[in-house]
Symmetry: C2
Subunit: 342 residues, 2 copies
């Protein structure tokens, strides 16, 4: 006999299996002595409840699906750790999948999760999510879903996001205050809400300081190192060198830095750079990158809590959005501009 069951305990103690079962679910009447006896012998016999049987009878899988666009950079792994902390404590099992920034894979992930009968899903959209019909369908069917970070504001579900506008504004203002005037924003794909918010924060900061916001102030680059590299290189090639770049995220900022260095330009002397999202890279690259830090772990915690609330039925406004605050880590890449003596 591989695993021992309540049946074994019942036999060993000459009681019925229901009595044994009751001993573990203390919502039932049971004599204290028998209960203690059962618990004790169960422990001695090395009994562990079979979660699968429990799941079957509770008609809940106690599985939660988590879909992230990637987990190679440190951001999503950190959020996942927060998510797991909450869910594992509550006896949930977490099924983590990566969409690899691919809309098709994302849909496949959703289907895999349905097949595994997850009780709910946490998702951060892939950057190419244009077609979100499948997700919409699930939402309409009332399936518990929470989004975080890579969010689409049109979907009527709870969201956990970062105060993108605010910190984009502050980061831009920081560049301005450090003497930079001709600042360009490398922006992300338009279908993600944070792209819009960060761009808006950027533009508003310029306006506040009476700096011109032209069509060329914001360049839709993308989210990856290559994107930042490519766009920076193009600016260099076309002679439209700004004196600072504020990038939608760290990989893009790092790409920009690579291009600048490659072309013999100094950072921040020739061009300052600031990023967003505080990857573990920020401190390691040279020069160290100024970046907005998001509370990743906390984001995971909040997201998981929101999902549990929804699953447990206390739907607190199916459209609640939690906005998390962060801070700006100022480093060398945005050091005060040295105005050349005339």
């Amino acid at each position: 006999m591989r695993h021992i069951t309540i049946k074994d305990i019942a036999k060993a103690l000459n009681v019925s299996i229901s009595t044994v079962s009751r001993a573990f679910n203390d919502k039932y009447d049971i004599r204290k002595e028998t209960r203690d006896l059962i618990i004790e012998t169960a422990e001695r016999m090395g009994y562990k409840p079979n979660p699968i049987a429990q799941k079957l009878i509770s008609r809940r899988s106690y599985n939660i699906g988590v879909i992230v666009p990637e987990f190679i950079n440190s951001f999503f792994p950190q959020v996942i750790m927060g998510i797991q902390k909450v869910l594992i404590e509550q006896k949930y099992q977490v099924l983590i999948m990566s969409s690899n920034e691919n809309s098709e894979t994302e849909k496949e992930n959703l289907i895999t999760m349905e097949n595994n009968m997850v009780d709910g899903i946490i998702i951060s959209l892939s950057c190419e999510t244009k077609n979100i019909d499948y997700l919409k369908q699930m939402i309409d069917a009332g399936f518990p879903i929470v989004m975080f970070n890579r969010v689409n504001e049109d979907l009527p579900i709870p969201k956990v996001v970062f105060s993108d506008y605010k910190w984009s504004f502050f980061a831009t203002e920081h560049l301005i205050e450090n003497g930079y005037r001709n600042i360009i924003h490398f922006s992300g794909p338009k279908n993600l809400s944070f792209t819009i918010n960060r761009a808006k924060g950027f533009a508003d900061a310029l306006r506040k300081h009476h700096l011109p916001v032209s069509g060329s102030s914001i360049i839709e680059s993308g989210l990856f190192v290559d994107d930042g590299y490519r766009c920076m290189q193009k600016l260099i090639d076309t002679g439209h060198l700004p004196d600072a770049v504020f990038a939608v995220n760290d990989p893009t900022a790092i790409g920009a830095i690579k291009a600048l260095k490659k072309n013999g330009l100094r950072i921040p002397h020739d061009v300052a750079v600031a990023g967003f999202s505080e990857s573990s890279l920020a401190e390691l690259i040279d020069p160290a990158l100024t970046s907005v830090m998001q509370p990743t772990f906390e984001m995971g915690i909040k997201t998981a809590q929101l999902l549990l609330q929804q699953i447990k039925g206390n739907e607190p406004g199916r459209n609640e959005t939690i906005v998390l605050n962060g801070k700006l880590n100022i480093r060398e890449s945005s050091a005060r501009k040295v105005i050349p003596a005339v």
Copy 2:
């Protein structure tokens, strides 16, 4: 009625549930027409088999546990992607946990996995694993476990490792061939096999080229950025500057680079640096880091396959070790030494 079951289909078609069940498990006799009819209506009704019921009756959880020391750096996430590729295809669910390089947490992870009745475990040891009694116990009990990368060779289970000795040898030889003579190895914690193998490869390469291997040639630093930084700083402070450092992994190498830069030393001009493990950082930092690349994704695939073999009972030598090959990515940090003109 939330999810529809074979019972529903049976009722709808006026057949017995066993017939419906048979239609899906084609190892049984069933008339082709009835089968087709059942499959078709099942599809129309949106039937999906309940994996939990299947698990219960098959007495298998179809859960596999994966324990890694961390997933903040890109190495483990990439391996995990390989693992998932194999397992998800085979209908397994993957339970990923991080030990956070902590021996206690590692044990807790193992217990959580047992409670979730995983069919097998894939583990890469935390760096502080001194006490591996619990793991040993499980192995002795015949529980299917496979280790990868962070391996302890004393444990009689299948392992998937990298050709550490060989590539450590080659990387060291590369430094020698590029003109470096006074080379120091930053080594990892002794309880991990790769630490030993990489150190041995390093020492043997020196010997082959008739370079002295002294007690101070190998410094037990650790595995993290801070470790590399600290050890490099100490060498600088004590005036024992080598002309090259070969680090046990990339984070340590990057730590060394940080320390060198901080002290105004040039890389590779003053001190060359090479790493191991090819993190995504290698190309991004400045100067780009020479590093041994391991086939992470493939490592995941092989590991998962080995575990499945073991689970399915074809135990091919409980102690098989698969050794994967890699390559050396040569970058600026180890560029040929410029011998100063006399």
